[in-house]
């Protein structure tokens, strides 16, 4: 008889449905994530709606040039998330909702992003000790 698979428990799940460039919520989600990571915890972000735009590989590593500071270094949103995933060493994860990805046409994610159907949302919630839903889609 096959044994049961033990599921990993995450300390925090952030369901992020707020569109980037619309409010401070995306930044708050990242700051909150970092605060949990700094305390040794683990965080997973489930990006829905236009939040799926955050991890598009079409951004490249940097934003477009700042005409008022052409030599400045401005990392792209996907580069920031990518760095957090790398630096988190397995304690920070980013999931993109496949339905929202299709709906928004945001289909070119950086490879570190996991793709999940909304049919797995409840399972993802039960895999976290706490869930915060940051709305605004």
């Amino acid at each position: 008889m096959a044994g049961t698979m033990e599921r990993r428990m995450w300390d925090l799940l952030l369901i992020l449905t707020t569109a980037p460039h619309s409010s401070d919520v995306v930044t708050s989600a990242l700051r909150l994530s970092q605060a949990v990571l700094d305390r040794g915890g683990s965080v997973r972000v489930w990006a829905c709606g236009y939040a799926t735009m955050m991890t598009q590989d079409t951004f490249g590593d940097t934003k477009l040039p700042n005409t008022r500071d052409p030599e400045g270094y401005y990392p792209s949103p996907s580069a920031v998330v990518q760095r957090m995933i790398t630096d988190g060493e397995g304690r920070f994860g980013w999931i993109s909702c496949t339905a929202c990805t299709e709906e928004r046409g945001s289909t070119h994610h950086i490879p570190q992003v996991r793709h999940r159907s909304p049919l797995r949302l409840a399972t993802t919630v039960t895999s976290a000790k706490q869930t915060l839903y940051l709305g605004g889609a």
Partner: protein
């Protein structure tokens, strides 16, 4: 009558009204509404700015906030610096109007606004609209 402006003609005189104060930080960095105005204004005869609602906070002077955040090993010191952009607007000749009632309603002192901005009562702000060809709600 509709006329077509020739190539190189400058756009109309525009008053840009900003009501929303928060439009992203990590994802936006320099690419925010005031940057757009600074970047585009040479195409227009005149662009001025009216800050209302939460957007008045962009013109409130303060000394402590540093527009940076640490995420992973990355210190992102390129978050939007709205006060700096308001100073740039003033320096580059924009008129920057700030709604006095919104400043006081949010608990700020109208005397603590960025130098060169003009703090006006709401009604007086509206009276300036006819001075422009167009009013945009940015």
């Amino acid at each position: 009558m509709t006329t077509t402006k020739g190539r190189g003609a400058r756009g109309p005189r525009v008053l840009c009204v900003l009501d929303r104060g928060y439009r992203g930080a990590v994802e936006a960095q320099f690419f925010h509404a005031l940057y757009g105005l600074l970047d585009l204004h040479e195409q227009f005869e005149q662009i001025d700015v009216a800050l209302r609602g939460a957007a008045v906070t962009m013109a409130v002077e303060e000394d402590e906030y540093r527009p940076e955040v640490r995420l992973g090993t990355m210190v992102l010191d390129t978050l939007p610096d709205y006060r700096g952009s308001v100073r740039d607007l003033v320096e580059e000749g924009f008129a920057v109007y700030v709604d006095r009632s919104d400043v006081t309603a949010l608990g700020f002192d109208p005397d603590r606004l960025v130098d060169g901005t003009t703090c006006l009562p709401s009604a007086e702000l509206s009276l300036r609209w006819p001075e422009y060809d167009e009013v945009w709600f940015v």
